[in-house]
Symmetry: C2
Subunit: 294 residues, 2 copies
């Protein structure tokens, strides 16, 4: 199967798995469940599930385990977007081409939907249906909790807010992004590896790969924020400049930011070299993320 066919099949099975994991709309509290489903289903590029599956493919992990790990990362991602868009954070009205959760519902419902989606991620990942060693499953839960918490994604959001109207150094910007988006991207890769039987040396290599890829992902995001438009992005374009945030583009200029992206793309591929052809899907996905034409 070519890459685009593979990606479409993963996106489709992710949608089905999310649909099954989310509480049905007709069950009480219905408004909360509607909001959770609204924020998660029918949108998003599913980058984290794709990473999880592409890494699992390297180790011939079972698809069911990968589905559970993949949707756990996607549920965390979806909750973070809901809370990010709240009036006290980015106060945004558009996400994935639709009104944000607190606009479509209300602020309280959006807050609680985010909270409940985080709990659901850990519920999914602690299911007995996973086909992995229990000790590895505990590692996976611990990894996801670290990636989501104050030393991971939530901490990165705090650093991001604190840096508004501040001129960061490149090192500070990198630190913020390693937490804010990088931690969960890394978790998606490592959860995929844990679903297989990756050795600790393989986990180290994949961790290095994922860190470079996470930064690449962010630079592309920064470039798209100024080069693309709201309709294409499905979220408000030009937000970084409007909010006076430090970005790779604002600190380096567009040309140098693009050069750094090329450099990180090479580093990402190089980090996978010891896996040889087995890492085909990860190489393809890395290129795809660099192009971001989906």
């Amino acid at each position: 199967m070519n890459f685009l066919g593979w990606a479409a099949s993963i996106q489709q099975r992710t949608e089905v798995a999310l649909e099954l994991a989310l509480p049905p709309s007709h069950i009480s509290p219905t408004r909360l469940h509607d909001a959770m489903r609204y924020a998660v289903l029918g949108g998003g590029k599913r980058v984290r599930p794709l990473l999880c599956h592409a890494t699992g493919d390297l180790f011939k992990a079972t698809l069911h385990s990968l589905d559970m790990a993949a949707i756990a990362t996607e549920l965390i991602h979806a909750y973070s977007l809901i809370h990010d868009d709240l009036p006290c954070m980015d106060n945004d009205v558009l996400r994935r081409g639709k009104p944000t959760c607190h606009i479509e519902f209300d602020e309280v419902t959006a807050l609680l939907a985010g909270d409940a989606l985080q709990a659901l991620a850990f519920h999914v990942l602690s299911s007995h249906s996973l086909d992995v060693d229990l000790s590895h499953q505990l590692d996976m839960l611990n990894l996801l909790a670290t990636a989501s918490g104050s030393r991971g994604m939530a901490g990165g959001q705090a650093l991001d807010i604190a840096s508004t109207n501040q001129q960061l150094t490149i090192a500070e910007l990198e630190l913020m992004h390693i937490h804010k988006t990088g931690a969960l991207i890394r978790a998606a890769v490592l959860l995929g590896a844990h679903c297989g039987k990756a050795t600790s040396s393989e986990l180290d290599q994949l961790s290095h790969f994922a860190t470079r890829l996470g930064l690449l992902f962010q630079i592309i995001d920064d470039i798209l924020d100024i080069e693309s438009d709201t309709a294409t992005l499905g979220k408000t374009a030009g937000k970084d400049v409007a909010q006076n945030k430090s970005t790779y583009v604002s600190l380096l200029g567009k040309t140098q930011a693009k050069e750094l992206a090329v450099c990180l793309l090479h580093e990402s591929h190089a980090a996978l070299s010891s896996f040889g052809d087995r890492a085909l899907r990860l190489h393809e996905l890395t290129d795809f993320i660099a192009e971001r034409n989906f």
Copy 2:
């Protein structure tokens, strides 16, 4: 050791365990970590840790496992209070005798501190240091996730918000409380039991006990809200009436609400009868919760 001495020792070791589990203030992002520590440490009655330890006592569970389970429930409880107090929810300024987290810090920091505390709860409970069967530990994680999510605490908060300015039936009120406060109280009891080697029949009995105790806890809360003052409660008194919320007192009147509390107290004790003298601490703690003079 008498009950008060035992309770003080559990509260003290809970404080130490929380202190160790929380990220240090000097580590970045410092403001977020400060807010997390502010909201968790040095306050609260630690009802859920007491319940967890009292139940574990029944099964001679190891204290370290109980500490981890206990603080996992307390971290979830603390995060729910932060989010509950936010302007879009109850908009409250006083908690545990101190300014609420968003007053002491700011709204964004409070939101993220709550988010990070939820992740930390799952981080703690997925630690390899617990002295329990891995399969049971997975059950414990699954139980805590269910109790925290849309079919548990977060769902109860959604029902609570939806019921503001509505006259509920007693059945609807009970359903709301079984989720909002009951789910986590039940989780604290069952996690304590899982730390020991409780049988499934024992878990059923304890689940029944915890459900009755959770409702008792809530009725006492409703009575205190109108009978006590802000200084004694450490949180804003008279809030239910001010927010026009249905409570046991508003639906039944004070006399009948107190009669129902006595009835639930008897039911709680009765639910423990098959455990005999082994459940001494749980009986004592049940009386203590009914008196709420601490």
